[in-house]
């Protein structure tokens, strides 16, 4: 049994929540609130860097473990159990990175400032908790904790039909988590299991496919899958996403696309792949089909969008479909396994987080200044705001998978894995990337280039505070694109034991 208490993850997870509380109680002015949130964001980034770079690739599977008994009785018991492995450490880093970006992106908010930063920080705690929990009940607790902050961010600081979108987001997510709860309970009640400890479940995953399960293992697999598929989102459960994205404020969109969707992908990798080996292999074809449909459907619908945010939202559906393609490719042939696709899926979580984060930041700036996201109204922005345009361009090129930028690495890995397992469906999925090149370049052309419009003459480029997160993310995107090894190696360190467990 894994035990210990180093405290690093506890601090990392709860520092934002503590910051939120301090904001509400101590910050007397909006300026103080902003600075406090910024300080917490910087501290979080530093902590997440320590978590990521302090992770020993050759060491224990789970590191930085914090474990305390939570409650124990005759009938129920759970532990407070945090820890990271190669799969979650990069996602912690991603959350630290985008958390700071989200704080900077909401620098100019004037409505209920203290509350805004408090919800934003609480959201960060919830997401970090999901990525680091190694107890199923604690995992579920953090999974649900994320709901209310995101609801509030969309419903109060959003635009358009914000309340409708926020409620839709809430109902979809809570429905998914209801299925997950039933599955968690059923796993716990299985006599041979009797624990919420994920490390034990991961270690003895195969044992779950025995006949003594309370519900059939395939039912459990799909219950978990539903919860994560709604979050990812997978076609046809994606309909909440375009609404939520379109109406969320910039910081909300960044967090939503950057890290919240990744909770779904992380759940699929950690629980569906990690625990239900047989079922993952058995239903790989279904995952593949859903993945390919998501990729293609997302891409086709994206082309038709005229709202910048909606466009990026649908492109997310398309790109997250690749995660499923990567997962489905775990089994190459009879008994032959590969972790190429899985690493691609995990990498896709990280790279898509940074790329979409950057896209939403850029769109947010465009909207702040030009007051429209309607593509036909935009044009020639590159002349007026070169910095924003460059960021937009880099994010777009990374999104369509240009070599040298981060998106290429993950997509390549996914397709390499996919071609070994399902050549034809993967070929179809590649079509999605060609479509992506189409919609991204076309969107760039219509927004950034072309004749400068008179009514945009007054526009100014990004200020220092606005440019900071852009630069931060560009550095990450280029760095991962040029030298992905540190990241891929950590992911592979996390995924290797999972693939080994299949054998």
């Amino acid at each position: 049994m894994v035990t210990g208490f180093t405290g690093l993850l506890t601090v990392t997870v709860f520092l934002p929540a503590a910051g939120a509380l301090a904001l509400l109680l101590l910050a007397r002015s909006d300026r103080a609130a902003r600075l406090l949130a910024f300080a917490v964001g910087v501290a979080e980034l530093a902590l997440s860097l320590v978590v990521f770079f302090g992770f020993q690739r050759g060491g224990e599977r789970f590191q930085w473990v914090d474990r305390l008994p939570w409650f124990a009785s005759e009938t129920l018991n759970a532990s407070y159990f945090l820890g990271v492995d190669g799969l979650s450490a990069p996602l912690v880093l991603l959350t630290g990175l985008l958390g700071l970006c989200a704080v900077l992106a909401s620098w100019r908010i004037t409505l209920r400032v203290r509350e805004h930063f408090a919800w934003l920080l609480l959201l960060q705690t919830a997401v970090l908790g999901v990525f680091t929990s190694l107890d199923l009940l604690l995992f579920f607790l953090f999974w649900e904790l994320e709901l209310l902050p995101m609801y509030m961010l969309i419903a109060i600081w959003g635009g358009g039909r914000k309340e409708y979108s926020a409620m839709k987001f809430l109902i979809f997510t809570i429905t998914g988590s209801a299925f997950m709860l039933v599955a968690i309970v059923a796993v716990f009640l299985t006599p041979q299991v009797g624990t919420f400890d994920m490390t034990q479940l991961l270690a003895h995953g195969v044992g779950l496919s025995g006949a003594d399960l309370l519900l059939p293992a395939s039912a459990l697999f799909w219950l978990f899958f539903l919860a994560f598929a709604i979050k990812l989102p997978v076609w046809p459960l994606h309909t909440w996403l375009p609404d939520a994205h379109t109406d969320a404020p910039t910081a909300g969109s960044v967090m939503l696309a950057g890290v919240l969707l990744k909770m779904g992908g992380y759940g699929l990798l950690r629980i569906n792949v990690g625990i239900f080996h047989q079922q993952t292999q058995q239903f790989a074809w279904a995952l593949m089909a859903l993945g390919v449909i998501s990729v293609l459907y997302g891409a086709v619908v994206t082309i038709r969008q005229t709202d910048l945010k909606r466009l990026i939202a649908y492109s997310s559906v398309s790109h997250m479909g690749l995660v499923l393609v990567g997962i489905a490719s775990v089994q190459v042939g009879l008994g032959e396994l590969t972790d190429t696709g899985l690493s691609g899926a995990a990498m896709q979580l990280f790279t898509h987080g940074t790329i979409t984060g950057l896209l939403f930041l850029a769109v947010g700036l465009v909207y702040d200044k030009a007051h429209t996201r309607y593509i036909p109204d935009l044009g020639g922005l590159a002349n007026r705001m070169p910095l924003v345009a460059i960021a937009f361009l880099i994010a777009g090129l990374a999104s369509l998978g240009l070599p040298g930028l981060s998106g290429f690495v993950s997509e390549l890995l996914v397709f390499l894995g996919g071609f070994q397992a399902y050549p034809w469906p993967t070929a179809l999925a590649v079509l999605g990337i060609i479509l992506a090149a189409g919609y991204i370049l076309w969107m760039m052309e219509r927004c950034l280039f072309g004749a400068a419009r008179e009514r945009f003459d007054h526009l100014t480029d990004a200020s220092f505070v606005e440019a900071l997160p852009l630069v931060l993310l560009i550095i990450v995107i280029v760095a991962v694109g040029v030298y992905p090894a540190p990241l891929t190696q950590v992911f592979q360190a996390g995924l290797a034991p999972m693939v080994d467990a299949f054998r």
């Binding site: 009785s73 709901l147 109902i171 059923a186």
Partner: protein
């Protein structure tokens, strides 16, 4: 009756005695604020006596070897049993009473001249509830039930407004009908088992010849069903829920708060005791019957709550839904799925989940109601739309009320999350996975109407910038229950152990 009996009865005597004292004091003292203090003192004394009894049994964490203070026969010729189970409910009911008294100090000014009666009736009703949870004999159950119901009917009508009188009348009449029905059920059960004590009833089921009386099985079934109808009224479960919305809307808010948590707890206490002590060997699957009631109750409550615009009516329907969730735990006559053919092997799972849920619900629902008491004192309206922008007018009230509503959905890390987890786990373990799934789906539906209130409070513009003051006693009570709501969710260990220990006092669970 010996001195030891008196010691065992002391919490009830203290509560009722303080009730009488409050009424008498009201006649002689001009300082009405003294009355509430005396009532709180009564709660503290009764609580202290209960604590002494609990320590006598070895404390909360004491081993299962000492479930009972009386070796055999019980108190007053076996009509009451002072065991861990009863003590658990003593604490629950006294806590609810104390908090409601604290929260109603400001509200009391609306009813000048009757403060003594108000507090006295509350104390009498609480005495009835406490006795109800200890009663082990049908006639005592009936008497305790009447002692619970009659003061509450008077209290419901206390405002003397049209709506309040209607609420009192409805509660009285429907209460009277349901107790008549229940009495008929008790008579049938007595007729075919020859005993009014739960032990005796249980024993008669173990004699096969007893069940061969012509038409006996049908009469027993009718008896059990009619008794269940009576209990259904107390716990506000469908289809005996008709009185709930009107009473919740019309009665004074503190009374509703008390009714919603304490009366429900007492109802479930007697339900558990009767079914898990008396009817365990009855060869009809009453677990399935309760499961159907549970599913009906949560569905009816949740669907009706969706369209409500009055917060008290909404919480009325919500309480019906929660009665359904709690019934899931009662229906979870555990172990059936694991020992086919060997007869049900009873575990602590189902009953202890009920106890845990009741405590968790007490914290969350009282948080909601104490906030509503403070709000309605100022804005004099129960319309949800009038709660617009509450976060601007009183952040404390808005945040605590939002916490309570989120807790009522069952979102972690609040008390009801663990409670629902516990109840649904018990259901799955007893082979009632469909019921757990129904409960989970219902929880999702309920999110919609609870969050709607949060939305109005946090998102809409306030009609006026006027602050809403919260008197100090209410502030204290609200802080206590709000902290409890989170604390039970974050650290449920102690309460889990206490609930598991308490249900072992039930004859059926211990074996």
């Amino acid at each position: 009756m010996t001195l030891h009996d008196l010691y065992l009865l002391s919490p009830y005597v203290a509560t009722a005695g303080m009730g009488i004292l409050v009424v008498l004091l009201d006649l002689v003292t001009p300082r009405k604020s003294l009355l509430a203090a005396v009532a709180v003192l009564g709660v503290l004394v009764a609580g202290a006596l209960t604590l002494v009894q609990l320590l006598d049994m070895g404390g909360i964490l004491g081993g299962p070897g000492l479930p009972n203070l009386v070796s055999d026969g019980g108190v007053l010729a076996g009509s009451l049993s002072v065991d861990r189970f009863a003590l658990f409910f003593n604490f629950l009911i006294l806590a609810a009473l104390g908090l409601v008294v604290l929260a109603s100090t400001d509200y009391l000014r609306r009813m000048p001249g009757h403060q003594g009666e108000y507090l006295g009736l509350l104390l009498f009703s609480a005495t009835g509830m406490m006795m109800l949870s200890a009663a082990t004999e049908l006639i005592t159950i009936y008497i305790a039930l009447e002692l619970t119901t009659l003061p509450l009917a008077a209290l419901a009508a206390f405002l003397l407004t049209g709506r309040s009188t209607e609420a009192g009348m409805k509660y009285l009449i429907i209460g009277a009908i349901s107790s008549a029905v229940m009495l008929y059920g008790m008579a049938l059960v007595f007729g075919f088992t020859g005993s009014t004590s739960l032990e005796g009833i249980a024993a008669s089921f173990r004699v096969p010849a007893q069940q061969d009386v012509p038409f006996g099985s049908y009469a027993m079934l009718a008896g059990v069903a009619l008794m269940l109808a009576g209990f259904g009224f107390k716990i506000a479960a469908a289809p005996f829920q008709m009185w709930v919305p009107d009473v919740y809307e019309g009665a004074p808010v503190p009374v509703v708060a008390f009714l919603s948590v304490a009366s429900k707890a007492a109802g479930f206490a007697v339900l558990l005791r009767v079914f898990y002590t008396g009817f365990l060997d009855y060869d009809v699957d009453w677990g399935a019957l309760l499961a159907i009631l549970a599913a009906a109750s949560m569905t009816v409550g949740n669907l009706a709550a969706l369209g409500q615009s009055n917060i008290r009516r909404l919480l009325g329907y919500s309480t019906i839904a929660h009665a359904g969730y709690i019934l899931v735990g009662v229906a979870a006559v555990a172990g059936v799925a694991y020992s086919p053919g060997a007869g049900p092997a009873f575990t602590t799972f189902g009953p202890s989940s009920v106890l845990f849920y009741l405590a968790a619900y007490l914290a969350a629902n009282l948080t909601a109601f104490i906030a509503i008491i403070a709000i309605s004192n100022r804005i004099e309206s129960d319309r949800i739309s009038d709660y617009a922008g509450l976060v601007r007018r009183s952040p404390f009230l808005a945040i605590t009320l939002a916490l309570a509503l989120v807790a009522l959905i069952g979102v972690p890390p609040t008390s009801i999350f663990i409670a629902k987890l516990y109840v649904f786990t018990a259901a799955v373990k007893s082979g009632l996975a469909w019921l757990a799934l129904a409960g989970v789906i219902n929880s999702v539906i309920s999110a919609y109407y609870y969050i709607r209130i949060v939305r109005v409070m946090f998102l809409d513009a306030p009609p006026s910038a006027e602050r809403i003051p919260v008197p100090v006693p209410s502030r204290v009570a609200l802080a206590v229950v709000a902290i409890a709501t989170v604390a039970i969710g974050v650290a449920p260990g102690l309460l889990l152990t206490a609930a598991e220990g308490a249900v072992k006092a039930l004859a059926g669970v211990a074996r």
